[in-house]
Symmetry: C2
Subunit: 237 residues, 2 copies
DNA sequence: GAGTGGTCTAGACCACTCA
DNA sequence: GAGTGGTCTAGACCACTCA
């Protein structure tokens, strides 16, 4: 058994998702939870703060922890989500066509994005994603060879993230995301079913390991009619 | 003086932003900070966790808290940011034209978004935002009269959020954001300088108070060439 | 006044890093 | 082995809610 507060958090998530606690109702008090889980109050509070951060509860001073109606928030994808995780949640069966998967000497632009020196090589992975027979998303990944020594087409067809975390044992820690809208490139027109759309939504993702090294730059290029980004955020006071 | 951990957090932010601690260098250890601020380690850790959450530092076990190079992340606008706050950070001088500011009996669509009953009235505020003489953004705000009893054109010209928080004393707690791309409406064409763009980026915002009541629905409609959304996110493990 | 959550303390034990 | 951060404890005092 691992961290107590994580175990308690996961247990509470399960209970809320199973409907054991209903929206707008209050959880047991911190005192009661302390007894129930046979732990200290600060440990309970760590678990509850995670629940609040992830949009499961609202803590109200003097009253208690109220369950939030998460149905209002269809998938609250805060944070990093790879295409595969996202597709799983959407319940559709997407297909991936690996167009390119090889080592390159990166262009000046990619070097700049990855803040790397001239001599370093980079894995370039270009994948088109289809839903219901239409190519909708073009993912262009650039991974520093320094940290990711090898990628195969097979891996690219599955999830690069799960390869990095489960096979290589690296820990992805944080990312900066930037969303903008551009004109489609020749490549977009070639590899996607644009069907006359004049714009493309570009999500630029800069992904960092747990020692704060930038190892991956990704452009996820979406047809605008199929693009949707959802975020849950708490205001810092 | 308020919460110790917030004071310490703000002090550390100031020091990092002033360059007293340099990127890729380590902060003093938690032990040292405990001495320096004459407090307990858990209080220091609360402050450091806030710094990590907001992208100022990366904590590395056994080593210390490393300062992240925030220049890589131009404005890491995580969470809720109103137009005015955003414009301030961009340094441009925008103008706001208040097109509409009145009480209405909401349409079925607005009722649904705000999860309200038939009889409740709503403030409708429609504002066009211009940068460098061009109308670029159309903000359509719908605020439940139940919680916000009054709004004037003057308030709408300034910041509605600062009115709500500073004048009315309400506390905005969290929001769900959804970003999609649509065809421009007639209203978009009327009030914005679209200059031939065929799409419009729509940010739908559902804003909640600290008792988890939904009080505001906002559509922020951006010309695609001027749209930019930046996010910093930590991965939950 | 009883019950709630928010902050803070002073300590403990542990896993990890690095010389 | 000394130094680092991660977790956990058992308690304290406080502000707030509600009957």
């Amino acid at each position: 058994m691992k961290n107590k507060y994580l175990v308690i958090y996961q247990e509470m998530v399960k209970q809320i998702e199973q409907g054991n606690f209903h929206p707008n109702q209050f959880l047991p008090s911190e005192h009661d939870l302390t007894d129930k889980f046979e732990t200290s109050r600060e440990t309970i509070r760590k678990a509850l703060n995670l629940l609040a951060q992830n949009g499961y509860i609202q803590k109200i001073r003097g009253k208690g922890s109220m369950v939030i109606d998460r149905n209002k928030f269809d998938f609250p994808v805060s944070g990093l989500v790879s295409f595969k995780e996202l597709a799983d949640k959407m319940g559709e069966k997407p297909k991936t066509f690996v167009h390119t998967c090889h080592l390159i000497n990166p262009s000046h632009y990619i070097q700049e994005q990855l803040k790397m020196s001239d001599s370093d090589q980079v894995w370039e992975v270009i994948r088109a994603r289809s839903f219901a027979g239409k190519y909708i998303i073009l993912d262009k990944d650039y991974l520093a060879k320094k940290y990711i020594s090898f990628i195969s087409r097979d891996i690219a067809e599955q999830s690069i993230y799960s390869y990095i975390e489960n096979e290589l044992g690296l820990v992805i820690s944080f990312a900066k995301k930037e969303i903008i809208v551009e004109e489609p490139t020749e490549e977009d027109r070639d590899l996607l079913d644009l069907e006359g759309f004049h714009n493309i939504v570009v999500i630029k993702n800069y992904v960092y390991l747990d020692d704060a090294t930038l190892f991956q730059y990704t452009e996820s290029r979406h047809r605008p009619d199929k693009f949707r980004f959802v975020d849950f955020a708490r205001r810092n006071h």
